[in-house]
Symmetry: C2
C-alpha cells in the first residue's frame, strides 16, 4: 500500500503527542520498528524522512532519528475566550482597509499572503499534455460552452475522488464552478439576502468576511480553535438567539488555524444544522493536502439529507489559474445550478477538459503524495524559522495539512503596523486583523508556507527581526 | 481599404431602402457603378456578392444582379404600443418555465435557441496555436492566478480594439470577466439590492430577466423597436415615476430585435441617464458583427462622466467556451473589480493568455470580416426560408449585424405550444414569451442563424410547416 509510510509516521507522531516519546529522545531504530509493526524497512525509513521533513524528528549521523525541540504549539483554548465577547451579528466593514492591502501586494517579491503553493510543485508538463489533448478534439468542444453543471468527464472524476473524503456522490450531484470562491459566492447569493446573518468561524478566512460585506450579509463570529474547530456549544447557543441563514466552516486544515475538526464534532455539526434546517457550507479546499496517509473525512460525508453544500477546487492542488472548482450542493443543487447558469453560463471549457484529461490519465494520486510531502516539509521549515526569528513568547501553529501557518505574537503587538513596515521592502503577509470583523487577532498573522526559497526565508527572518525589535 | 466593398454595399442598400431601386429592378452593372463611385471593379463585385449573400440581390446568369423580393420587414412601431400597457416594475417570474426549457434543450439536434455561431466559423487552428504559445511560457503563468482586473496584455488588446467602437479607453479601465454574463451579473450585484428596479427593453434578452429574478430585482419594461431601439420618451417618463437603479440596453444589433439604435438616440440616452445619475449598462456583444464596413459606435463612446458600464465578450466572435469577456465600468470600476476579485479571484488564465496571443498575432480583423460575411449570408438564407415556410402574415427581422432573427407570427399564435411540439423532434428555438415579464410576444420567436446546414434548414421548414398547419 503506497501510503503505508504515512500511517507509520502518524503512529510515531502519536507517541510524541502522548508523551511516550519526549523531546531529545531517540526514536526506535528503523529495523526494530519495522519488525514491531510488520512493515518493510523502507516504509519506516520513508516515515522517518517525512517526520524529519516536518521537523518533528532530526537525523543525527551514525546515530539515528531523535525527537526535535518543537516550537510551542497553540494552546487549544486560544481564540475561544476572546472571541466570545461582543458576538452579536455585525455588518462587515473591513473591506476598505483590506481592499487597499490586496491591491498593493500583488507586485510583492516575497508574497507570504496569498495562499498558493509554488508553481514548481505542480505537474505543469502533464497539465500541458492534457491541454493539448483537449484542444486536439475534433468536435472543437474546447471552444464551445460547457453549460452548467459543467464537463461531464470532469464531474465523473470529481465524484470518484470524493470517495476519499468519505462522500458517495454521483456525477449528477456535482456542479463545476470557477474555483471554490465562485461556488461559495453563488451559494451565499442563493441562500441569503441583504441584512441576513451567516455564522463563520473566528478567526476565519478573510475572503468570507469580504464576500459577506459586499453582499450586505451580516457575520456572526463563532470561536474556533485548532483542536476542536468551530465551538459547537457556542454555535448552538447562538442559533437559538439569532436568525442564522447559513454556516460557513472549514473543518479540514482550517484557514487560518490549520486544525482539523474531530470526526465526532463534524458529525455533530452536521446533525445540529440539519435538525434546525440551516444549511452548512463546508469549504474543503485544503482537504486533499493531509500530511498523513489518509485525508480526513469531509463533514459532508455525514450528510444524509443534502443539507451540506461542499465547495472545493483544484486551486491548491493543481493550478489556481485554471479556475476549476466545484460544489456538491445536496438539496440546494437546482438553486446553485441556476445561479451558475445565469451568472456565467458555465466555466471555461478548455481548463475543465484539461483537468478532466489529467485526472483520467491517473497521475494525480502520485502528484498529491509528492505535493503533500513537500508542503509538510515547507511548513515545518517555516515554523522552525518563526520559532527562531520571532520574539520570545510567539506561538506558531503546526498544521497536519495544508500550508498556512498562524503566528500569534505576544499580546499588545500590532501586526498591521508590522505589515505596513515590510510592504515597501516587497514582503507581504496577512495581518491577523483581517481574519475577524470584531477587531480581534491584531497580534496575529498568517504566513503562506506554500513557497519556500531563499527569498521567503529572508522574508520570515526580516519580519521576525523587526518584530523582535519592537517594530509595531 | 479592405472594407470598401461593404461601404459600397451599404450605398446600394440605401438606394433599395429609399425606393430608388425597387423589387425586381436590375441594379447598375458592376462596371458602371465602379466608374460612378470611383472604386475598383472587384470592390463592386464583392459588394454585390455580400448583398447577394444577405439575400437582398439575386444574380441572374448572363444578365446581372437584381433586387430580390424580400420578406416583409418589421414595422417600426411594432412592440411599442402593446408594451406600453401595464408597465409598472414587476418582480420577474418566468424562470420556472424557462429553467425547464433550457434544461431540455441542451441535447437538441437542431438548436436554434442558443445564440452562438457555428464552431466551423471560428479560427480554431489559430486559437490552438495561441494556446500552445501560452502554455509554453517559462514562468508557468498559465497555471497562476490572473488576478482581477485580469491579464494585462489582453486588456491592452481590448482597449486597442475599443477604438473601433469610438471608445478611447486605457488598459487600466478594462476588467476581464468570465463572459459578458458575469460582467453583467457582477454589475447588477454591485448596483442593486433585492426589491430595487432595473429598466430593460421590451422585448429583451431573457437572461437579463432571469438574472433580475434570481437577484430579487424588479424589471421595468420599456418598449423597444428595431429602428429606434429603446423608446427614450417612455424611458424618460418612467424615470420620473419609478425609482430606477440602472438601465440595461443593447443598442447595437439588439437581441432579439436585431436593430441598431441611431447615434443621435444613443447620445441622448447617455445624456438622459447621466443627468439623472442612473448608470447605463450597455451590452455590446454583437457590436463587432456588423455586416457593413464599419461597426456602429457604442453608446459608451458618448460617455464623458464614466456613467456607462459597457460589457462585452469574445463569445460571439471567437470562442464562447473560453469564457472571456470584459467590462469598461467607468466610474464603477472599483465596485466591479472588488466584486470580481471576491467572487472568483480572476477568470481562467490560460484562455485569457490564448486570446491575448491570438489578438496580438494580428489575424482578428480578417477573421471578423469573414465571420461577418458568413453570418450575413446565413441570416439572409434563414430569413428567406422563414418567409417561404411560415404562415401568411409572418414578419421576420432583417438585421444588419449579429445573427438572431425575430419572427412575428400572426396575432393569437402561441409559439410556446409550437416549441413544445418540436422539442421531441430535437428542434429548439426561443419562444417569444421569455423575452418579456409581462406575457407579451407569445406570437413571436427568436431563431439563431449562427448555424446554417441541412439540419437547420429542415428545422426551419418543419417549424414553419407546423405553424402553417395551425399547430399552436
Amino acid at each position: 500500500m503506497e501510503t503505508l509510510y504515512a500511517e507509520v509516521a502518524d503512529k510515531v507522531l502519536g507517541m510524541i503527542e502522548k508523551g511516550a516519546l519526549k523531546e531529545g529522545d531517540r526514536v526506535p531504530s528503523i529495523r526494530s520498528l519495522s519488525g514491531q509493526l510488520a512493515v518493510s524497512v523502507n516504509t519506516v525509513k520513508e516515515a522517518y524522512l517525512l517526520l524529519e521533513a516536518q521537523r518533528f524528528l532530526e537525523a543525527r549521523p551514525q546515530s539515528g532519528f531523535y525527537v526535535r525541540r518543537k516550537a510551542p504549539p497553540l494552546p487549544t483554548e486560544n481564540a475561544s475566550e476572546r472571541a466570545y465577547l461582543g458576538m452579536d451579528p455585525k455588518e462587515v466593514s473591513l473591506c476598505r482597509i483590506y481592499g487597499e492591502i490586496s491591491r498593493t501586494e500583488k507586485g510583492s517579491g516575497a508574497c507570504l499572503s496569498v495562499a498558493i503553493p509554488d508553481p514548481s510543485l505542480m505537474p505543469v508538463k502533464a497539465l500541458e499534455r492534457s491541454f493539448r489533448e483537449a484542444l486536439a478534439d475534433e468536435n472543437h468542444d474546447a471552444i464551445n460552452y460547457a453549460f452548467s453543471p459543467g464537463h461531464e468527464g470532469l464531474r465523473r472524476e470529481i465524484a470518484r475522488q470524493s470517495i476519499e473524503a468519505g462522500i458517495n456522490a454521483s456525477p449528477e450531484e456535482v456542479i463545476i464552478t470557477s474555483g471554490a470562491s465562485e461556488a461559495l459566492t453563488l451559494t451565499i447569493m442563493a441562500l441569503c439576502g441583504r441584512g441576513d446573518t451567516v455564522a463563520v468561524e473566528s478567526p476565519t478566512y478573510f475572503n468570507f468576511l469580504q464576500l459577506l460585506e459586499s453582499l450586505g450579509v451580516k457575520a456572526l463570529e463563532i470561536p474556533s480553535n485548532p483542536t476542536d474547530g468551530m465551538n459547537l456549544e457556542v454555535l448552538s447557543w447562538a442559533l437559538d438567539k439569532y436568525p442564522v441563514k447559513a454556516v460557513i466552516c472549514i473543518p479540514n486544515f482550517n484557514n487560518p488555524l490549520g486544525g482539523v475538526m474531530p470526526d465526532a464534532r463534524k458529525s455533530e455539526l452536521v446533525g445540529l444544522l440539519e435538525s434546525r434546517g440551516i444549511p452548512l457550507v463546508e469549504d474543503d479546499v485544503y482537504g486533499e493536502l493531509a500530511y498523513a496517509a489518509q485525508r480526513p473525512r469531509a463533514a459532508k460525508s455525514w450528510d444524509l439529507s443534502g443539507n451540506v453544500i461542499l465547495v472545493s477546487s483544484f486551486s491548491k492542488t493543481l493550478a489556481c489559474g485554471f479556475r476549476v472548482g466545484w460544489a456538491l450542493p445536496g438539496k440546494y443543487y437546482r438553486q446553485l445550478d441556476k445561479m451558475k447558469s445565469l451568472s456565467s453560463v458555465g466555466s471555461a471549457t478548455p481548463t475543465q477538459m484539461a483537468i478532466s484529461a489529467y485526472l483520467a490519465a491517473g497521475g494525480y494520486p502520485r502528484h498529491l503524495r509528492r505535493l503533500r510531502q513537500a508542503l509538510a516539509e515547507q511548513a515545518g521549515l517555516m515554523a522552525e524559522e518563526v520559532a527562531l526569528a520571532f520574539p520570545e513568547g510567539t506561538r506558531v501553529s503546526r498544521p497536519k495539512g495544508g500550508f498556512v501557518l498562524w503566528v500569534e505574537l505576544p499580546e499588545g503587538f500590532d501586526s498591521f503596523e508590522l505589515y505596513k513596515r515590510v510592504l515597501p521592502e516587497g514582503i507581504a503577509f496577512s495581518p491577523g486583523a483581517v481574519f475577524s470583523n470584531s477587531g480581534k487577532y491584531s497580534n496575529c498573522l498568517r504566513l503562506n508556507a506554500g513557497q519556500w526559497n531563499g527569498q521567503v526565508l529572508r522574508a520570515v527572518r526580516r519580519i521576525g527581526g523587526l518584530a523582535r525589535n519592537g517594530a509595531n
